[in-house]
Amino acid sequence: MRALRVALLHLRVSVMNELQYRANFFIQLIQSLISVATGLIVLALIFDRTPDLNGWTRPQLLVVLGIYSIVGGFFGFGLEPAVVRIMGDVREGTFDYVLTKPVDSQVLASVRAFRVWRLTDVVVGIAVATWGLVALPNPPSLTELAGGVVMLMAGFVALYCLGLIIVTGAFWYTNMDMVQDLFTGMYRAGQYPTGVYPRWLRLVLTFLVPIGLAVTTPSQSLTGQLTWQRLVALLGFVTALVVVTRLIWKLGTKRYSGASA
């Protein structure tokens, strides 16, 4: 498991690096609080006018907000920096350094950069989600809790796959900034359960830009709205996505090595 060791090493370096800038922790914490506060104000505005949003009650939406923050936190902590780094490397031509190392290139490229203080989003998110869970009339059972955690991880894996596919696109077509802009914009749509959206948008947010999958599905499990069948089906989808992503990565790196002679 050399790959895991490499990942932990990178993580340790990042942590030591960022611990030097302790002020950044407070700045990041304030930012997380501002984000969540804004979300809470919006929920307050909504529930001032209506007892539920498309069937979702206030505590349930608190859970959604919390999960959204958690996903965003992990995204900013591990995925986004890695993706940005890969894009930069491809642009500058320094991606060769990744390919010539004796560690699997996909793993290496994915674990190189971490922004430790973004985890404040995760902490704040957990707090908000817990608040929501506590306020629920029927707190989640152990299986529902487990299902939530599983779907959270699955959703994050799906986002990771999307990120990697976009980045691999850079091997063919270097100007992927456009696509990045597009997907960054759509990310915000994950803040509400996908049921609110028209069907076509719901499908897009679950299977194409899986932020909907990453946020709505764990929330559904935690609030007792997720069926076994659906969970299994989505896990199957994510597994297939992982396989496809790996294939695309392999194709992409082969193309890159061929192109940059």
Binding site: I34, T38, G185, V196
Partner: protein, 266 residues
């Protein structure tokens, strides 16, 4: 009027340059519509739940509001306050300081040209959104004229406001939290999140004393309504007043920023 040639040249070159990146611009706009679509869907569903209208806003009016929102938002995007750190670091600022014009002209002129390309790229998106969400839109010609003036006024106002905000970078680089707090306040009190009519009373009161509404909510409401002729005139007057105030503030803040820079960095 010697600034005329400068603005004309800047505008022209901004259009040429950004036309080369029209696809990038288009994709960015497409990504941007996620935000208003989310708001639109959420508020429309609440309206339907309340029996068809929320404080007088039907789903059709929400659709109109948020589709026009996309143009106003695009016109609002300007030189980011986060950009000053790089400007200082990579020598661009020194380059500006060596030239005999105030650098704000450069930003205003350049972004104005960019906006022309933005508007052109926005039109097909607006049509697509209109087909999907079926907005109720029926403005008078006075509203249309006011709208056209107001979106450029909004651009000018927000450019100056964010310019001044960015100048904080001259005193400290720990600016992220401050900027985010500004943007959060702006989100809630400008009409970006939801029409200000729908915000609670205290929020509406606070918004009257701040420039955010003039740069966002007012242009939208000018076109989408409901608004009286008097409301249009008042809104424009307020916008111009804020522009004047920010211009004065900018001149003052810039003088101090340059002093600070020239004492330390050069």
């Amino acid at each position: 009027m010697t600034y005329l040639r400068l603005y004309a040249t800047l505008g022209r070159q901004a259009i040429s340059t950004n036309f080369q990146y029209r696809l990038n611009n288009f994709m960015f706009l497409v990504g941007m519509i996620a935000e208003p679509v989310v708001y639109l869907v959420v508020w429309s569903s609440i309206a339907e739940r309340q029996g068809g209208a929320l404080d007088g806003y039907t789903p059709g009016m929400f659709a109109a509001y948020y589709i026009v929102w996309t143009l106003v938002r695009a016109m609002n995007i300007t030189f980011t306050p986060f950009g000053w750190e790089e400007r200082i670091r990579d020598g661009t600022l020194s380059g500006h300081l060596l030239r005999p014009i105030h650098p704000v002209h450069y930003d205003i002129g350049w972004f104005s040209g960019w906006k022309v390309v933005t508007i052109v790229m926005w039109l097909p998106i607006a049509v697509a959104l209109a087909l999907v969400f079926e907005p109720t839109l029926d403005p008078t010609w006075q509203q249309c004229v006011t709208f056209f003036v107001a979106i450029w006024g909004a651009f000018l106002l927000r450019t100056m406001l964010l310019w001044v905000l960015g100048l904080i970078t001259f005193w400290t680089t720990r600016v992220t939290a401050m900027f985010e707090a500004y943007f959060a306040a702006e989100l809630l009190l400008s009409g970006r999140l939801v029409p200000l009519d729908l915000m609670p009373g205290w929020a509406r009161e606070t918004a009257r004393w701040l420039p955010f509404e003039s740069s966002f909510g007012f242009p939208i409401t000018a076109l989408v309504g409901p608004i009286s002729g008097r409301g249009l005139a008042e809104g424009l007057a307020r916008q111009f007043a804020w522009i004047a105030v920010s211009a004065l503030f900018l001149a003052w803040a810039w003088r101090h920023a340059v002093k600070r820079y020239s004492a330390v960095n050069g």
